[in-house]
């Protein structure tokens, strides 16, 4: 194992100073770093928009399914309401006809 004395410490310090001296970055280093940063931002932005698009797509799909389901229920309800309307109308006409018969009018005397 190497023993360090005072002289060795100085050598070590000098060696460290030499190795850790400030050096200028090579040409294009800053541009490279900036490109990389911008590229990462772009990737993050694309990912965000992609996620947002997928989310919106899912929501739109769910809304479309729910809308169709709602419309189907509305159609069935409307159909039942229409049948009910025809029942009430038919029943009322039937009662009217009975009343008319009772008071001695015939159906052919109904005016239009």
């Amino acid at each position: 194992m190497k023993q360090f004395d005072g002289e060795s410490d100085i050598e070590l310090e000098l060696e460290l100073k030499r190795k850790l001296r400030p050096v200028l970055p090579p040409d294009g280093f800053v541009d490279g770093v900036m490109k990389r940063v911008v590229g990462e931002r772009r990737v993050r932005r694309v990912r965000t928009w992609l996620a947002a698009t997928v989310l919106l797509g899912m929501l739109s799909g769910a809304a479309a399914v729910e809308k169709r389901d709602y419309e189907r229920r509305q159609e069935e309800l409307a159909g039942r309401q229409f049948n009910l309307a025809m029942q009430v109308t038919g029943r009322t006409l039937s009662r009217v006809q009975e009343q008319i018969s009772q008071v001695g009018l015939k159906s052919s005397e109904v005016t239009q």
């Binding site: 709602y70 409307a78 159909g79 109308t89 006409l93 009343q99 159906s107």
Partner: protein
Amino acid sequence: MTWRRGTRGMVSIGLALAFLAGTAGAWSQASLQDDRLFAGWEKFAKGASDTTEVNLDKNMLSMAGKSLGISTDQTEAALAKRLDFIYIRDYKYAKPGQYNMAEVRKYIDRLDGGGWEHMIRERSATESTDICFRGGDDGEASELVIIAAEPTDLTFVHMKGQVSIDELSKLGEKYGAPKLKARPQ
């Protein structure tokens, strides 16, 4: 800059969601307009033991046409599509005297004039029946009103669209009504 973009993205998503929610809200509130001719007829529901209400506007009738076209008779589906609206109120009362006949007469009076023609106007001590048509040629009615008042039963029917007496008669027969015949002109 990043947070601004993020905020912008969130705002865009928020706006899109708001749009979706707004669209869904507007679509779910498919409007059912009130019947102006019989505005206020809800008052007869007071004291009624059984109430039947039908509110079908053009949109709902179109839906009914689709539903009926799939499930049952094409004639009914076709009629539903030709109608503009059907409003019906049918009230049944446990005993006589639970609705005000004078109030009913106010609605009947609205059918005097205004282009309404009485097809049937029947009065007795306890009962009253009015069937009126308005507009239309060759038996095609643009609007039909039936007001039938009996001691324990009160019915208002108001429908508009291309419907003939014959058609109503046929539909009535299907639901148990005898055939109505128009007097030859």
